[in-house]
């Protein structure tokens, strides 16, 4: 048994789970189960930005690895695939080379094209503007706003802008477009349009994962994500607040 290869493979499996937005307990449990499936005892500690993992060989030698995880994109498809891979490994452990090949295949799986994601953001904004009581004109105004906000935020994410500032800028842009639409007489309720656009930015993901981590007993990671959720909530409020106050001061609308 090549313990170093096992350690590297399992850590990169855990890292891809974490990068794609899995909960902390899922990462820890998956890694420990895979170690057990290969007949070793592994210790794993995961926080949202780092994985610490160590195993002991049959001769009593210890191997350990720390892996820093930066990306926090969300990709449900990969989580499902990785979860499936772990299940298969636990049933009959394949040679480690095959696991590596599977990991490469999963990280190369196609995701929805960017255009689809932009259109999906537009759909979310459109549906929410109607859901919160806007009329059809408001809902139509929210579509270009959501598209532009998505373009801006994904551009800023590519440039590695910090997420707090990205959310402020995104929400400010959305609010400005909504105000402009209402001032031009195209839309009627600025609040409904802005809330519709907001729903693409709200921290539903951070909130849900925070709760699930806390249930599983990972209080450190749970607090990390609750703070993240509150920060995002505050950021989008600040962004829209800035836009509305500025337009009141400069143009007297809002």
């Amino acid at each position: 048994m090549d313990y170093e290869e096992l350690l590297n493979t399992v850590t990169s499996l855990g890292a891809s789970l974490l990068e794609n937005g899995a909960e902390i307990y899922r990462v820890e449990e998956s890694m420990i189960r895979v170690y057990t499936a290969y007949g070793t005892y592994g210790e794993v500690f995961v926080i949202p930005s780092c994985i610490f993992s160590s195993i002991s060989s049959a001769e009593g030698k210890t191997f350990s690895k720390t892996k820093r995880v930066v990306s926090h994109g969300v990709n449900f498809d990969r989580i499902a695939e990785l979860n499936d891979l772990c299940r298969r490994i636990c049933q009959t452990p394949p040679p480690l080379g095959e696991v590596c090949a599977e990991l490469d295949r999963i990280s190369g799986r196609p995701s929805f094209a960017f255009l689809w994601k932009v259109l999906a953001c537009a759909l979310v904004a459109f549906a929410f503007t109607l859901l919160f009581g806007g009329n059809l004109a408001d809902a139509l105004c929210s579509i270009p706003a959501a598209i532009l906000v998505k373009l801006l935020t994904s551009k800023m994410e590519k440039l590695h802008t910090n997420s707090f500032f990205t959310y402020i800028a995104g929400s400010a842009l959305g609010a400005l477009i909504a105000l402009a639409a209402v001032a031009a007489g195209v839309g009627f309720h600025q609040d409904k349009i802005i809330i519709g656009v907001f729903m693409n930015l709200v921290p539903g993901m951070a909130m849900t994962n925070a709760i699930r981590d806390i249930i599983a007993g990972d209080l450190v990671s749970g607090i990390f994500k609750i703070v993240e959720a509150i920060m995002i909530g505050v950021a989008i409020a600040i962004g829209a607040g800035l836009a509305i106050s500025a337009s009141r001061l400069i143009w007297g609308v809002g």
Binding site: F76, F128, I195, F198, T208, N209
Partner: protein, 148 residues
């Protein structure tokens, strides 16, 4: 129509959120259905006149639906839970708190802000309750399997 149309909007928004987060295609329809169930239960409990109670029952209902679909399709439960919860996340609360804040209505700001936090806490409680019961049930179940 006052009941079914909002459910349809919730369904559409959950579909959109699934695509943004790149859900596997087979989980999109069930996840969207969970979103519609959540909003449907929220509306069905409007008679209580207390929206905290509405949010709680909605969170419980959509968590149960998500857990069931996750078992059926053998996928992580978050794939259903996160898109389904999205329509209930208090975006409106965040907006109106901010609006009261910049208008200088400190009382209204505090009231709306605390209400928003209460909603978030209620949703958390609903999910927590269902997930904890499911975890308990699975450990009882697996303990039985081991002893048998």
């Amino acid at each position: 129509m006052d009941f079914w149309l909002p459910c349809l909007y919730a369904l559409a928004s959950s579909v959109g959120f699934c695509i943004v987060n790149n859900s596997p295609r087979r989980t999109i329809a069930p996840a969207a259905l969970c979103g519609a169930i959540g909003w449907g239960v929220y509306l069905a409990f409007a008679f209580t006149g207390n929206d905290i109670y509405q949010y709680f029952t909605a969170a419980v209902a959509l968590s149960i639906a998500s857990e069931i679909f996750a078992r059926v399709q053998k996928c992580p439960v978050t794939l259903y839970l996160i898109p389904a919860l999205l329509p209930l996340v208090p975006g409106g609360g965040i907006y109106y708190s901010m609006e009261h804040c910049i208008n200088g209505n400190t009382d209204a700001f505090l009231q709306t802000g605390l209400h928003t936090l209460a909603i978030a806490g209620t949703l958390a409680l609903g999910i927590l309750l269902v997930s904890s019961i499911v975890r308990l049930w699975t450990s009882i179940h697996s303990a039985k399997g081991e002893s048998a």
